[in-house]
């Protein structure tokens, strides 16, 4: 195998390292954003339901 072909193997191996690391970090970022959005949505939903309940209890009491 000539040196130029060997160099291509080295180049591809080196690229794979960066692609794998970069891919994992991007995947972490996307996943973290999705989780954060879901947390915020559920917090808002639970907050609204608790407010509705509080209003309902107050209405019955009056």
């Amino acid at each position: 195998m000539d040196e130029a072909t060997k160099f291509w193997y080295l180049f591809i191996a080196y690229d794979i390292v960066w692609l794998l690391i970069g891919g994992y970090v991007v995947w972490l970022g996307v996943r973290q954003n999705r989780i954060q959005r879901q947390i915020e949505r559920l917090r808002a939903l639970l907050g609204e339901e608790e407010d509705d309940r509080a209003e309902g209890t107050a209405g019955r009491a009056s």
Partner: protein, 241 residues
């Protein structure tokens, strides 16, 4: 206005500094691997894959050792934080093990004439990857969080038995794979090669720390999300009654 605690300030500084350190170390290692390290006489420049391949394997062992310790800690205390640490370390370890398994064949093809042979080091490393992939997949078999963590922890402990087997496989079975670290005696790496190798190890250690700092807080968020979902489901049930 309240001042942040020293521990929180230190964690924040570390979160900012660590990616900078990883980038700096990566650039330094590139220099060491491509310009500083001597050209290997028999293999030529293709041997430079070694500086990304072997350190990844070493730090991957360390990551799985952390999983092993976290798994023991989880089974002993049942604190969810140990499960989060174990999962984070397994993901980082699997990433590094994937680097080893993909760069190895690209080095083997020009040197051995084949991408893959079923020799001891290669086979046991593939088994290691499969074990820790199973560590992540086993969680899907049940919905109970404690059971998920328990199953994974058992696999995290049993799976670690493969790490010494991978390490000693080249000594015991003597296949094609070269010995990387010699316990004693000369004939090892030339000094400039040692520098590049150590640079690679330092880069991967910093990268591992950086990934843990990203992944562990995300694990806490996943726990919070699960708790919120349970609460929302309980409120829906109470509302429908």
């Amino acid at each position: 206005m309240t001042r942040p605690s020293p521990a929180r300030s230190a964690a924040r500084a570390l979160r900012l500094l660590l990616p900078v350190a990883v980038t700096g170390l990566a650039v330094g290692t590139l220099y060491l691997a491509f310009f500083h390290a001597a050209r290997e006489r028999v293999m030529g420049d293709i041997q430079r894959i070694f500086y990304f391949h072997a350190p990844a394997g070493l730090v991957c062992f360390f990551a799985f050792f952390v999983t092993f310790l976290a798994s023991i800690a989880y089974l002993a205390t049942r604190r969810p934080v140990w499960d989060i640490v174990g999962r984070a370390s397994t993901e980082a370890g699997l990433l590094l093990c994937s680097i080893v398994l993909l760069t190895g064949p690209l080095w083997a093809r020009p040197v051995w004439g084949t991408y893959w042979t079923w020799e001891a080091r290669l086979t046991t490393t593939l088994v290691l990857w499969l074990i820790y992939a199973a560590y992540l997949m086993v969680r899907r078999y049940t919905d109970d969080p404690d059971q998920q963590a328990r199953f994974a922890a058992v696999l995290g402990i049993v799976g670690f038995l493969d790490v010494p087997i991978v390490y000693w496989s080249v000594r015991v079975w003597r296949g094609h794979h070269p010995l990387v670290l010699k316990v004693s005696g000369g004939g090892g790496l030339e000094q400039s090669m040692q520098h590049a190798f150590l640079g690679g190890v330092a880069t991967y250690v910093a990268l591992y720390a950086c990934l843990m700092m990203l992944r562990v807080p995300m694990g806490r968020q996943e726990e919070e999300l699960r708790w919120l979902r349970e609460r929302a489901a309980a409120m829906r049930d109470a509302g429908s009654r």
